[in-house]
């Protein structure tokens, strides 16, 4: 796993100060300096792949079609989204179904910082300092039956609050799924915050899942139901286009999306001179997760 020292992250306060400093420059008469031109200010050296993405980019550049298909739609349209009261049901192939409130979850499971890389199927990536804990901890609250082979995540359906759900862009509510061993993997994270703050609405508040070795769409947001099932669930994207989106959707530079290449990616937050970087197998988490797929043909099981 990629390791980041906390000192490598720009604290938000300093980041904001820098911004306001830069802004204040703009108001001055002599603001047009040579260094404000990216052509002159840019280093042509390779970009630092481990650099944590800024709070601003993480929270204003999102794919969250419940709030619209534009990248800034989630930030603009989710600010009044109500995340309280919020209950999460854990049901299906369990001995005793459980309904648990977000407050209980927050008090039962202490969050830790997990700096993990997000690779979007569209060909871009971010490094995000999430706060959360392993899904396996939450699932230990219920007793799984033998039939529990897969986990299905269901996101909230609330077209009154989520304007994107008024259009049939996907079959709402959003659904995703994992094989039980994937779900139990310690890297599979229940996220309740980022940058040591409450999870912003546009990032999937109050609770989402994050699976760092899979394309971003696998990590469902605003989860209301976790269902243990026997058969492989059909995710919203599989339903929309089964030839393009498979159940596993592991980050894999050798398996292209049918319509575009997955060999490289752009790192969010860089200028126009920054090169693409090579996409890594399992998004760089192969040491931890490759054994989950030993003997499987990942070209077939894409």
């Amino acid at each position: 796993m990629k390791k980041f020292k906390y000192s490598e992250i720009t604290p938000e306060k300093i980041y904001k100060k820098r911004r306001s400093f830069i802004k204040s420059l703009g108001f001055g008469f002599g603001s047009f300096t040579l260094s404000s031109l990216p052509f002159i200010n840019t280093s042509f050296a390779n970009i630092d792949q481990n650099k944590v993405t800024s709070f601003k980019d993480i929270t204003t550049y999102n794919n969250y079609y419940e709030f619209g298909t534009g990248k800034s739609d989630p930030y603009i349209k989710s600010q009044n989204f109500k995340t309280s009261p919020w209950n999460i049901k854990i049901e299906g192939e369990v001995e005793k179904p459980l309904e648990i409130s977000i407050e209980e979850i927050l008090s039962l499971f202490p969050s830790e910082e997990r700096i993990l890389k997000l690779r979007c199927v569209e060909g871009w990536s971010m490094v995000i300092p999430w706060n959360g804990f392993s899904l396996s901890q939450l699932l230990s609250k219920v007793t799984l039956k033998n039939k529990a082979k897969f986990v299905e995540f269901e996101s909230v359906y609330d077209p009154d609050q989520m304007s994107g759900q008024r259009y049939p862009v996907l079959n709402w509510p959003y659904k995703e799924g994992l094989r039980i061993d994937e779900a139990m993997h310690p890297l599979t994270t229940i996220v309740t915050g980022l940058y040591n703050k409450k999870l912003p609405n546009q990032n999937g508040a109050p609770l989402r899942i994050f699976i760092p070795w899979k394309y971003g769409f696998k990590s469902a947001k605003a989860i209301v139901k976790i269902k243990l099932v026997e058969k492989m669930p059909t995710s919203s994207w599989m339903w929309a286009s089964p030839k393009e989106y498979g159940f596993y959707s592991n980050v894999n530079p050798d398996v292209d999306h049918p319509r575009w290449s997955q060999a490289t990616e752009r790192v969010i937050g860089n200028d126009i001179f920054a090169p693409r970087i090579k996409t890594e197998m399992f998004n760089g988490y192969g040491d931890q997760v490759a054994n989950l797929y030993s003997g499987m043909d990942l070209k077939k099981n894409f």
Binding site: L37, D256, A263, I272
Partner: protein, 193 residues
């Protein structure tokens, strides 16, 4: 009056280019600037294709020759924005890294059809001068009907790269179909006469 309209249209057509240049120079393109430039130049290419195709219907509707006078210029702006679009992809996004580019052109249908559309634009751009119109006579019109194919390719390029059914590619398709239907209708009408 008409004499000033043509330079006016030229100035208007150059505005998107000035706008994106300003945004590039002053870093106003957000967290994924290369994608923004690609989308911007691509969308303006499609807009100019639609504008170019709208000129002959407008001529018939308004009975004014003005539209035909600016048509070749608008067509050249199609080539201009399409070339910027291609250059963004080749030079900025892939930094002349030919292997993945060639791979994309061969394997990915949306790139393949987009690149084909750009290639088809070349003969049209080369024969856009008044001299060439006179030189090619009837063949000029025939050659420049390629714009219909280019328009269809451009629209497919947009649809095929979209992740799901999005609003914008569909709007372009609808506008394009309407503009192409005008041709069918006119042909029928003129064959009756």
């Amino acid at each position: 009056m008409i004499r000033y309209l043509k330079p006016g249209v030229f100035v208007l057509s150059i505005i998107p280019f000035l706008l994106i240049s300003y945004q590039i120079i002053f870093n106003k393109l957000g967290p994924e600037p290369v994608k923004e430039i690609t989308h911007f130049t691509g969308e303006w290419t499609l807009i100019f294709i639609c504008l170019t195709l709208a000129m002959s219907p407008l001529k018939r509707l308004t009975n004014s020759i003005f539209w035909i006078n600016i048509r070749r210029m608008l067509g050249l702006f199609v080539f201009f924005y399409a070339t910027l679009h291609l250059l963004t992809y080749v030079a900025i996004d892939y930094r002349f890294d030919w292997e993945p580019i060639i791979n994309d052109v061969i394997k990915k249908k949306y790139i393949y059809i987009g690149f084909s559309a750009w290639l088809l634009l070349i003969p049209l751009a080369l024969t856009s001068s008044k001299k060439m119109v006179k030189l090619l006579k009837q063949n000029w019109k025939k050659l420049h009907r390629l714009i219909y194919i280019i328009a269809i390719f451009g629209s497919l390029h947009f649809i095929w790269l979209s992740k799901t059914i999005f609003f914008k590619p569909l709007i372009f398709l609808v506008i394009l179909i309407i503009l192409l239907l005008f041709r069918v209708k006119f042909k029928k009408l003129s064959s009756k006469v």
